[in-house]
Symmetry: C2
Subunit: 226 residues, 2 copies
DNA sequence: GGTTTTACCCTTACGGCGTAAGTGCAGAGA
DNA sequence: TCTCTGCACTTACGCCGTAAGGGTAAAACC
C-alpha cells in the first residue's frame, strides 16, 4: 500500500471502505457548525466523486445510520465492577459526553429507524446491568426509559444554548435581559439576574443534579416494581 | 372584498399577514409525514409565489421561529388553583401533547435561538408557579431543568418509534425480533418478548411513571434546596 | 380627479442538494 | 490473451433557499 501523497487527493488505489466513509463523515460533521456533510462534500474529502459513495451505501440514510451507530459505539457500556447506581451514572455521563462531542447526532437519532450493531449492544448492556442490579423486567424498562429520556432531553437543551463557556453565558444573558420587558416576565428576569448570572454558576452542574434525583427515585422504587 | 372564487387560488385582495403565513406553515407541517414545508410549497398553499413571503419574513429561519412559538402557545400554562405538583404535572402532559401533535417542532427547537413571546410567557409562568409552590430560585431552576429535559427526551424517543398503535408495536417488534441474533443480545430480546409484547402494554404509560418519579424527587428536595 | 407614494407580489436566475442512469477502466481469473 | 467484474466517473433532473429587480393596485395627498 503506497504511502499517502502530500497533495490533496487521497491515494486512489486502496478502495474506500464503509468504515473509512463513515469515519470521515463523522469527522466532517464534527467540524465547527457545518452539521451533517452533503454527499459532495463528503466525497471531496475522500478524494472521490459524490456518486462513488453509492457503491457502498444505497442512499444517504444508510450513511446517517452508520454515523449514529459510531457515536453509540463511543458510549461507555455500564461497568460490572461497581454497584448498579454508579454504573448507570457513569453510562449516563459518558452518553452525554458523546452527544456533546457530536452535536449533530441527537438531531439524527429521531429520524433513524434501523439501529446498528453498536446501538443494539449498548441497549442490551444497559438492560442487562439493570437486571443484574436487581430490577425486574418491567422495572428495567422504566429505569431505561426515564434515564435515557433525561439524558437526551438535557443534552438537547444544552446544545441549543447559544453559549459554551460561562463567560459567554454572561454576555448572552446580559443581552437577553436588555431586550426583555422586565415587568412582563418578572420570574424569568429574576432567575437570570439572581441565579444564572451569579458567579460560579455552571449550567453543566445541573446535569448531575437531575441525574441524581432520578437515580434516587429508581433506588427507592427498584424493589416495588413488579 | 370579493367572495372567494371556486377555483384554486386564494382571493388575492386581502394581504397575507405573518399570522396567516405561520398558521398555514404549521398546518402544512402537520400534514402527514411531510415535515417542515419548503418556501415554495408554503407559498403555493397561500396562493402566492415563494418570494412574496420574503416581504414578511427576512428569511426562513424567522418563519421557523414563529412556528415554534405557535406550538409553545398551545401548551397549557401551569394552573394556579391546584397544588404545585398537580400543576406541573398538567403542564408536562400538555407539553408532551403539543410536541406529539406537531412532531416537527422538537427537531426545530434545538436550532432555534430567538424565543418568541409565547415561549417567554410560558417559561415565566412555569418558574413563577414553582416559586409560588415554595421552591427557591435555585430549586426552581433545578426543577425546571429536570422536568423539561424529561419531557423533551421522552417525546423525542416516542416520536422516533416506528409505530403508533399497540397493534403496530406488535408487528414491528416481531419483525425486529426475527432479525435479532438472540444469543448476542439476550436481555434485549427478553425485554421485547416478555415485556413489550405482553398484552396490555402501552408505551404511553411510561411517560407518567417517569414523570411521577421525578415529581416525587422534587417534592422530597424542595425544601432542602438553598 | 389627478398624481404620487407605498405596499405587495411577481419573474428570473444562481448555486447547492440527493440521486437515477449510463459509461469507462483496471485488476483478477480463464 | 481475453473476458468478467467491481468500482469510480459523467451527465442530468428536479428539488431547495434566496439575491435582485420589475410591475401594479390601493391609499394618500393636492
Amino acid at each position: 500500500m503506497p504511502a499517502e501523497t502530500a497533495g490533496r487527493p487521497a491515494p486512489r488505489r486502496t478502495t474506500l471502505s464503509k468504515e473509512t466513509v463513515l469515519r470521515t463523515a463523522v469527522a466532517l460533521a464534527d467540524e465547527a457548525g457545518t452539521g451533517v456533510p452533503s454527499m459532495r462534500r463528503l466525497a471531496e474529502r475522500l478524494g472521490v466523486e459524490a456518486m462513488s459513495l453509492y457503491h457502498h451505501f444505497r442512499n444517504k440514510d444508510l450513511i446517517l445510520d452508520g454515523m449514529v451507530d459510531l457515536v453509540f459505539g463511543e458510549i461507555e457500556l455500564p461497568p460490572d465492577d461497581v454497584d448498579w447506581r454508579t454504573s448507570m451514572r457513569r453510562r449516563a455521563v459518558s452518553m452525554r459526553g458523546a452527544l456533546i462531542r457530536h452535536p449533530w447526532a441527537i438531531s439524527l437519532m429521531d429520524s433513524r429507524k434501523n439501529p446498528g450493531h453498536a446501538t443494539l449492544r449498548h441497549h442490551d448492556a444497559v438492560i442487562g446491568r439493570l437486571r443484574s442490579g436487581g430490577f425486574s423486567i418491567a422495572g428495567a424498562a422504566h429505569a431505561f426509559s426515564v434515564l435515557d429520556s433525561y439524558v437526551y432531553g438535557f443534552t438537547l437543551q444544552e446544545l441549543s444554548l447559544p453559549f459554551t463557556s460561562s463567560a459567554g453565558l454572561e454576555d448572552t444573558a446580559d443581552s437577553i435581559l436588555k431586550q426583555l420587558p422586565r415587568d412582563e416576565f418578572p420570574h424569568l428576569t429574576e432567575m437570570i439576574t439572581d441565579h444564572a448570572l451569579k458567579p460560579g454558576y455552571a449550567y453543566t452542574e445541573e446535569f448531575g443534579i437531575g441525574l441524581d434525583l432520578i437515580l434516587d427515585g429508581l433506588q427507592r422504587r427498584r424493589e416495588s416494581w413488579p
